[in-house]
Symmetry: D2
Subunit: 339 residues, 4 copies
């Protein structure tokens, strides 16, 4: 009954096994390890992108901030959703690394729309040197509201950005969950939909701590390497990052882990719906924001459930519930029983 | 025969076992995990510093850059040795995080002296707002030349800094090797010698990737936490960093690992000396810079030895050789035989 | 009929005379000139603040950005109005100098209210290290909408900030205009209303290019001096800045200049009202945003009027009109006639 | 007898007259003023560079720091002389604006040589992502030692940089003095000698406060404009900067002013030589560093002379003496008499 976050779960057995195996003997450091070549090959195959380059870091904030800094000048605007992780949960890291300014794009259920984006784009960068210049677009999928963009929706947004010649980043901290939710291919969700650079999340979905930054246009990859080192994010024993992501991407493990997380999310949402709870946003992946009448918090917490309380109107209670690769049907059913 | 760097070795079995154990079940994220409390207790006990605060990051560059940024204003000067890792091997990370300027202090064998430091201190910060202000001192132990400062030597240097009210940082990427080399206690080498903040290395000495930043004055620790997050260095699954450092510091493992590395360094130096090699710097820990007549590079590399070649005068060859916790006597003897 | 901005006018004769006089002979550089002492004395007297410290820069963006950087940490939030100059017209300068994040506070007619500020304050800095910390408040008076805060209104806003122990800055690019509009004393509008640091505008109101940064708490002044030099804003021939501001503040010149600008603004507004134009915001100082039926733009521009067109609903036209110290009644009347 | 610095003198009468004239009436702001077009035409003609772009700022530190930031990435190395103004006298401004690292190149009498530069270039940027990358070259002419590079010497240095594809900047705070000293044309001293961007000093040589940044390759000029605004260095009433530089460059005024400064420097040096003083560096322009037997400081200062004392060996005294456009033969002779 641990639904506080998908980062309170551990690493999947296959990932842990790969880390143990990677510990054998000596290996070259700073990314010249043998596994890193295999990771690149895997990414190129899975994304159907033979020129793609991937580099690894240990945290999602580093992946996002470095990817953004590599694509946006210090006098640029980074267009992101009002409640994007980069805007609300990274303590200025994107600004620290890039010098750029985040410009917030509204939209219901955590998603900007072509109309809201077009509106903000039109109002930005129109005052010469006095204001920031249009810089880049960053989307998050799965969103912070637990909703999911389809490839078609992403294409419609990147088209707005491309009309202004802006590069497009996808924060995929829960990228596998988004793929499973939409049944899209990795290619369809990224470069085929106009994404230039992807933060490919591993940590929340069964790794210890690893994120890939995937460049579909390799021209920026060397700059990224310099920024990564300058940010202190280049691991000397990079083999331990590479081993995680290699196992994660091998034989579809990442999708199986995400499928379990999403399925448990759905099971939880279905159960709550039967018991009268409403949802603030459509439940489409592994994160939900149910609301119910007062009283359940006390029962659930007494039963040992862990999750974040959210503000609610008088007489009501609200929560954020996140399922993960390690959530079991028994966890969900026990929660529902306590509810 | 892998002597390229101590970061080409893997993790010690005890560390790996701890990581595996840490993977059991759920744990709170972002440093609120159970192990982190035990790490703090261990650090306080080992350093005889009941008020010390420790935070973890995954790389040495992050530890140094964040520690420096926390103690030096953007208009300050960071006094470091001419060949310090922070000056030569971190791609401007200390400057990126702090905004400060590194002012180089010369000295033979990788060590500044009270006289060279005093000289540079006297010439810095004397021109009002026009130049940088004196900011802080950072020392490295084991130095980049493989030599070691004793606590007495450190005290003499920090005294120079304290005369200007400057905080003092110790880059201890190879701190355990320095302790073993001098037989000093952790306390004697740090706060008792005037050190305010320590980068406590784990990665090079048998961990996967973890460094502690130890604040003997806890007043700066909260600022460090904000800077760590803003730099993207706060792990969501911090338990995997905490598990490493907990195992590392438990029952003297860190000192045993360093003792092996140092002993193998000495065995290698002794063997090379018997075969006529000279050393550029005194061999005091686990890194050495031997020089020998032309020809050995080809023999050694043919035999499978891996290490960095260094420039040498005509007719001579030079190398950097680093031993680690996993170096065996057989490795050393095989190298000497090939030599 | 030049109403594009108060910065299209030149310098007042008294200011120019002072600059010419300052050019006599030699003087000490970098702020050690004789006039600078007199400027400090004038500021202390006029603001009834015997401990105040004032430093000079040449642009308003520099004054604001440096004042903010001196009072807000890089992980802090700067609370400002949605349409503040620091947010919209300084090309990220405040973020560049401070590293901080601007958090926008809404409010009609360019003014935040205690309620809108309290709401944003309550929602910021509540997520530990994950988000920015509450940093400081910055207000603008005259606002970007041409409206004016009274001292009482400022006090109510700074009280909200002080409840969170935040320092408060006032962007007074048009400070004299605000004083004239409210008939407040400089003290009442600043430190007595909770303002810690003031950007005291000279450029828009009859100087060539000079702004004072006034610290009511002198503790931060030395840091400002270092930041000013590091930003390249310390003049070697500071006497030419000091001469401007000395003349400006002597014998009430600044208030006379602002009174003329405000009076001409009122004359213009009255005339437009008589001719059926509406105003988007109350006209309280020297900047207004009238709206009128289609057709007047063409007539006015044909007659030689210069100003910024603003977007308007179908069938309507809108403008920003700014009067200055050098606007004459004839200018206004000619504009009204052409209208 | 004011020899402390050329920035203790005022503005030349022609410059002041131009400022007064520029004050007439209204003009467009932020660099769209009429004079700015004339300044561009003048620069293109004088430098025989029909594509050159010039932008103005008020201080030399701003000119240098912005020019450097426009040409060097944050992970780059800026090669400059050990005692360059950008290294010693700008409180980290170049690093603040660029994020880059200054790498010091030694050389006698304030001048690097092809050999010292080649040596430092060869030792920099050879360690992949671990160290800074070679970024750009910046030279100073007149140097901080009062010596002067000839165009041939500059070409030999920029050739070293160009071999690594590095852009080259010239800090010309005393550019006119260097031209006069070498009898070189502006073109020969800059683009024809491999200089890509010039800080064209006005302040020290008879202006109030203005420096041009001249881009011989206009491709970088727009980025400069954004950086200038973001740094708070764009003047709203830019006409007052443009007027100064227009007058300065018209009819050779700048060269006449520099010729007077240099001639007075030579007269002073000759007089001191006759009285037995030695010089630390060759006297080639308007700044000198004489040394003499103990006792003269007291006599000179009693007579009202103002200058900087420099450290000297026991029994000796040393000084920095700077002459300017406003130094008269009487000033010099009075100094010599007092000596």
């Amino acid at each position: 009954m641990r639904f506080a976050s998908d980062n309170t779960s551990g690493a999947a057995p296959e990932v842990m096994a790969a880390v143990i195996k990677a510990n054998d003997g000596y290996d070259r450091s700073y990314g010249a390890d043998a596994a890193m070549g295999r990771v690149t090959a895997l990414v190129r195959e899975i994304f159907e992108a033979p020129e793609a380059v991937v580099h690894l870091v240990a945290t999602g904030t580093a992946a996002n901030a470095l990817a953004i800094a590599t694509h946006c000048q210090p006098w640029g605007a980074v267009f992101c959703h009002t409640h994007a992780h980069v805007a609300e949960d990274e303590c200025n890291a994107p600004e620290f690394y890039s010098g750029a300014k985040l410009i917030l794009v509204p939209g219901d259920h955590g998603k900007m729309t072509p109309a809201t984006l077009a509106d903000v784009l039109a109002r930005t960068g129109e005052s010469g040197v006095h204001g920031v210049q249009r810089g880049m677009l960053t989307l998050t999928n799965v969103t912070e509201a637990g909703t999911v963009y389809t490839p078609t929706e992403i294409s419609a947004l990147t088209a707005q950005a491309k009309a202004h010649h802006l590069p497009c980043h996808l924060d995929g901290a829960r990228f596998a969950n988004a793929l499973v939710a939409t049944n899209a291919t990795p290619a369809a969700m990224t470069w085929a939909a106009g994404i230039d650079v992807l933060s490919l999340g591993g940590t929340k979905n069964g790794c210890m701590g690893v994120e890939g930054v995937v460049f579909f246009d390799p021209a920026k990859a060397w700059e990224f390497e310099l920024r990564r080192k300058r940010g202190g994010h280049l691991w000397s024993k990079n083999r331990f990052l590479a081993a995680q992501i290699e196992a994660y991407l091998t034989d579809g493990l990442w999708l199986r882990l995400a499928a379990q997380a999403n399925a448990m999310g759905q099971r939880l949402a279905d159960g709550l719906a039967q018991k009268g709870a409403s949802q603030r946003h459509p439940v489409q992946a592994n994160m939900q924001f149910p609301e119910w009448p007062e009283g359940a918090h006390a029962r659930l917490e007494a039963a040992g459930a862990a999750y974040y309380r959210f503000p609610a109107p008088p007489g009501r209670e609200a929560a954020r519930l996140v399922t993960s690769w390690s959530t079991t049907a028994a966890d969900v059913d026990q929660f529902l029983a306590a509810f």
